[in-house]
């Protein structure tokens, strides 16, 4: 099973370190330019969506052939900070009564589940999407929700994991592509990768 682990200063894909020169947002931009490209919408996204998109792209680049346009793949993500990073940016546009210009482009990202939508839009996934906010990283809880998703016979695999962005330069992600028949997708495995 493929996985990606991103911290604010490092990226590991299936155990291999992806070398980067920058940290934080600059690192995400660097990875986009070096390894992804051709999707200018990336630059319009908030920090949480950028993180989710980079993680999912690195994960899906391992898939051959890459699956698109499907109803059978779900996107189920978790975090703690919800959309707090973008919420702060939006609040800044309505904080000052003398300079009060609520930004629609910032507002649309003040929902954590937009990241599941962005990944689905990018890959034309029409399956289940779900975003769950947890008190803290909890592999068992995440595993439980994914297991329930597989009760739907339509769902054959799922992009899942932890995508948390407290601030634009303070984030982490841990993402998996798990199929319904993967025996090695367990709470222990999620923990093991998260702690790597």
């Amino acid at each position: 099973m493929n996985w990606v682990r991103i911290r604010k200063d490092s990226i590991v894909v299936n155990g291999d370190v992806l070398s980067t020169e920058n940290t934080g947002q600059a690192m995400l931009k660097e990875v986009y330019k070096k390894h992804i490209g051709g999707y200018p919408k990336f630059f319009k996204m908030d920090a949480l969506c950028k993180l989710g998109l980079i993680a999912s792209e690195l994960l899906l680049q391992l898939e051959s052939p890459r699956v698109t346009d499907t109803e059978q793949r779900a996107v189920i993500l978790f975090n703690r900070a919800s959309s707090l990073s973008d919420d702060r940016n939006y609040q800044a546009t309505i904080q000052d009564a003398g300079n009060f210009f609520p930004s629609p482009a910032v507002f649309v990202y003040t929902l954590p589940n937009i990241v599941t939508g962005e990944i689905s839009i990018r890959n034309k996934y029409y399956g289940e999407t779900l975003f769950v906010v947890l008190d803290h990283f909890n592999a068992q809880e995440m595993f439980n929700v994914v297991r329930e998703a597989f009760l739907d016979p339509m769902t054959s695999d799922v992009i899942t994991g932890w995508v948390d962005c407290e601030n634009k330069d303070d984030f982490e992600a841990c993402m998996f592509l798990a199929s319904a028949v993967d025996q090695d997708f367990t709470p222990e495995f999620i923990n093991e990768i998260y702690n790597k």
Partner: protein
Amino acid sequence: MDNLQDILKQQIIDALNLEEIETADIDNDAPLFGEGLGLDSIDALELIVLLERNYGIKIKDPAVGKEIFKSVNVLADYVSKNRTK
């Protein structure tokens, strides 16, 4: 000194995070929406905010936005006639 067209182009690039586009890439007569820059409905709303913030122009009806975002020239013409700041 920059003309209004160039100023608007730079403001559009900044407001819409068109990271990989430069002012020279935007044709003054080409449509802003549709193919071209790949802008969507949220970008149109953001441009409406830009007009209010930078030029004091209040647009209540998104349909009016559609008309004036036809091209940079059309937009510049509208801004020069309607600006209050």
